[in-house]
């Protein structure tokens, strides 16, 4: 800052700029362009916004599946994101308050994320939720009759939500870092003034980490709107498409079965706009609850 050469920021941003042009801007417009075309009888023809209109038409080839995907994805996001934030924040908070063996716990809680969509996790998860699986075995101990978890829309949704929440490790790590940056002095002062631990949490901790809550919230939102591995591997979108999230539909349309890159691009664009709307909303609201240091 003092004596900073004027051109330095621009030079240092060149890699980012190239990345933006080649990896973001070009594909961005290219896919928008593609979404205005359609393959009819082997020929690629310009169809304007027809692809988009078709997406909301129950009787078009993909309309029904797309609208179902919207519903499924929205449900998934609205349940999963708050859950992840709450669970990971609570655990991070507990771990940040001088616990013995913090390293061990941090590792343990992170292992699920590391395992990712490993084939063994998939097998195990299905084993837990299947009709004769672990949960129903447990229920039978209490005399409750078995529930068809993977055979009902509700149960299947629970299984994939839980899979994602089980992998709260990264979010927790980020919160841990943020919590570490809250100066100890603030807590000390509050304790001297007689504030309880709970009140300290709500009046010191939370406000101080609001930038990170915003960050995690937005990131999780964007990411969960694009969820793929869980539903693909655990429930295969079933039963009866009740967990067929948008990204699965796009994959099916553009890459596997459908081979229709044009409709796939249109779907990606609708997804993008939805994510934009939600995120702008959250950012606008952040004025009222996020507190920055600088």
């Amino acid at each position: 800052m003092v004596g900073q050469k004027k051109w330095l920021p621009y030079v240092l941003l060149i890699p980012w700029f190239i990345g933006f042009l080649v990896f973001k801007l070009y594909p961005f417009f290219n896919s928008l362009y593609m979404s205005l075309f359609k393959r009819i009888q082997g020929q690629v023809k310009y169809v304007g916004l027809q692809n988009y209109v078709d997406l909301f038409d129950k009787n078009s080839t993909w309309g029904g599946l797309f609208m179902n995907g919207l519903k499924v994805t929205a449900t998934y996001v609205l349940v999963t994101v708050p859950l992840i934030l709450i669970v990971s924040l609570l655990v991070a908070y507990v771990l940040s308050r001088k616990i013995k063996g913090v390293g061990f716990f941090r590792t343990a809680y992170y292992i699920p994320t590391v395992l990712g969509a490993n084939v063994a996790v998939v097998i195990l998860w299905r084993y837990i939720f299947e009709y004769e699986g672990l949960i129903n075995q447990g229920l039978s101990l209490f005399g409750i009759s078995p529930v068809s978890w993977l055979g009902t829309a509700f149960g299947a949704m629970i299984s994939i939500v839980l899979l994602r929440v089980w992998q709260f490790g990264s979010t927790m790590l980020i919160f841990l870092n943020a919590l570490k940056n809250v100066p100890e002095t603030l807590y000390e002062a509050a304790t001297i003034d007689g504030a309880s631990k709970t009140s300290q949490f709500f009046r010191i901790t939370l406000p101080m980490i609001t930038p990170i809550i915003l960050f995690n919230g937005v990131m999780r939102l964007v990411e969960t709107f694009q969820v793929f591995n869980g539903p693909q591997l655990i429930t295969q979108g079933g039963p009866l498409d009740s967990t067929r999230v948008l990204n699965m539909v796009i994959y099916q349309v553009a890459f596997s079965g459908g081979q229709d890159l044009y409709t796939g691009s249109a779907m990606s664009w609708v997804l993008f706009i939805i994510i934009m709307v939600f995120t702008i909303g959250i950012f606008k609201s952040s004025k009222y609850w996020v507190y920055y240091q600088d």
């Binding site: 393959r39 009819i40 009888q41 082997g42 009787n59 080839t61 299905r126 939720f129 299947e130 009709y131 004769e132 068809s148 978890w149 993977l150 055979g151 009902t152 295969q236 079933g238 039963p239 009866l240 498409d241 099916q252 890459f255 596997s256 079965g257 459908g258 081979q259």
Partner: protein
């Protein structure tokens, strides 16, 4: 700055060098296939034998699992980078625009007279043969004999006998079933086979659905009969294992007495069932009356397609011809490849396999299935019934039109009437859409 310059030079030189080395040697054949590692190992063994016999040629194998293969192939085709020889499903000749992208095998020196006259007809568009058939396959039942033996039930040949067996098996243990769990794809085949027996029609005729609302409802009613008599499970919600072979009720508890699958795919179920060789029997397609031979659909199971670039080089063309000939007629190679890709109808291939005493291929479940599929299909032809699977029947997008309503029916969320009318309402229009691309 210097570092950046050095890197740039390095990158440029690599680009130049690799660009120049773009042309692969024409005596190297690239060959891609999908399957399990079993198939891969045996294919590589055959490749080794080929390279030993023809030291002037090399084969680069490219093997992947099923999921992702089609997408990968499609991408490669659009870039002109497909392998010289690649494995395909029969219906891809149509859905992947084979007439534009695959080589017309008439241009190669292949003796098609060794195959049955009509074998390659379904792979022909505009008189071009676009795939080399590996085998034909039919959708038939295989049963776990021990489940039947325990209940004192004999192996059924008619539907009624199947239902009786179901009752006996269920009486012994209500958790056991004569067949067990079938998914939408399998139930579709079961229903259509059943209806074809009754009506004499192929499910798709002249690119339209041939069954009426009543007939479909009749089919659904029959499924319900099976479900009420311990042949099939009452609702697919009570068993959520989507993968048949690994379903514990099949492989460990042996509560399920049978499977319905392509005869070329039975090894998946064999691999997971303990002592399968003693338990699994081939049961063909159950009939309305004893001694009938109806309701047998078949199709080419898989084929080898060849890239158009092969004919651009004489060396490459000769190499590919030698390779295809070798894989079909060399005794060692044929035995090593076995019946994993089905039982070939090529006269030489089949006789090598039939006469192999060490492996006794004729006793495999695939072979037994193959025999019955061929026999029944031909018997039907004599009655002017052609149940060849329509090229778009298994199209990824189209198949949802009939599989979705069936799935809902299996979960109990729609009635037979609703399912039938759902199928009818969109079948013809969607089929036309995919046919016309």
């Amino acid at each position: 700055m210097k570092k950046i310059g050095l890197i740039l030079i390095m990158v440029l030189s690599i680009l130049i060098v690799t660009g120049c080395n773009n042309q692969k040697d024409d005596s190297v054949i690239s060959f891609s296939w999908w399957g399990t590692s079993d198939r891969s190992v045996s294919t590589y063994k055959a490749i080794e034998l080929f390279e030993k016999k023809y030291p002037e040629y090399k084969v680069e194998g490219d093997f992947t699992v099923w999921s992702g293969y089609q997408q990968s192939l499609s991408n490669k085709l659009s870039r002109g980078r497909e392998s010289d020889v690649f494995q395909i499903n029969y219906n891809w000749v149509y859905s992947m625009y084979g007439k534009d992208h695959f080589l017309d095998l008439n241009e190669l020196n292949i003796d098609f007279s060794k195959y049955p006259v009509n074998e390659h007809k379904p792979l022909m568009i505009d008189n071009k043969i676009l795939g080399l058939s590996q085998s034909e396959t039919g959708y038939i039942f295989y049963l776990n004999k021990s489940v039947y033996d325990q209940a004192g039930a004999s192996i059924p040949t008619t539907w009624q006998e199947l239902i009786d067996a179901g009752n006996k098996i269920g009486a012994l243990n209500s958790e056991k079933y004569a067949i067990g769990r079938l998914d939408a794809q399998q139930v579709a085949m079961l229903m259509f086979s059943y209806l074809s027996q009754i009506t004499g029609k192929n499910v798709i005729e002249e690119d339209k659905l041939s069954f009426t609302q009543q007939e479909l409802q009749q089919g659904f009613a029959f499924i319900n009969v099976l479900r009420n008599n311990n042949v099939l499970i009452p609702s697919n919600a009570t068993d959520t294992h989507n993968d048949g072979p690994s379903n514990p009720r099949w492989q460990q508890q042996e509560n399920y007495g049978g499977v319905l699958t392509w005869n070329t795919a039975i090894s998946e179920y064999e691999n997971t069932l303990p002592n399968a060789s003693e338990k699994l029997v081939m049961a063909g397609m159950f009939q309305q009356e004893a001694n009938e031979r109806l309701g047998m659909y078949k199709k080419v199971s898989m084929a080898y397609a060849v890239s158009k670039r092969v004919t651009q080089s004489e060396t490459k063309q000769k190499a590919v011809e030698a390779f295809l000939e070798f894989m079909t007629t060399d005794p060692e190679a044929v035995k090593v490849l076995g019946v994993d890709r089905g039982v070939s109808n090529h006269t030489v291939t089949q006789s090598i396999l039939a006469n192999d005493e060490t492996n006794s291929f004729k006793n495999t479940l695939e072979w037994k299935g193959h025999d019955i599929v061929q026999a029944y299909y031909n018997a039907q032809l004599e009655e002017n019934i052609d149940l060849y699977i329509h090229p778009f029947y298994e199209h990824d997008t189209f198949r949802k039109i009939y599989e979705s309503p069936i799935e809902k029916f299996l979960f109990g969320t729609v009635t037979a009437q609703q399912a039938a009318s759902e199928i009818i309402s969109r079948f013809d229009t969607e089929l036309l859409k995919v046919i016309n691309g």
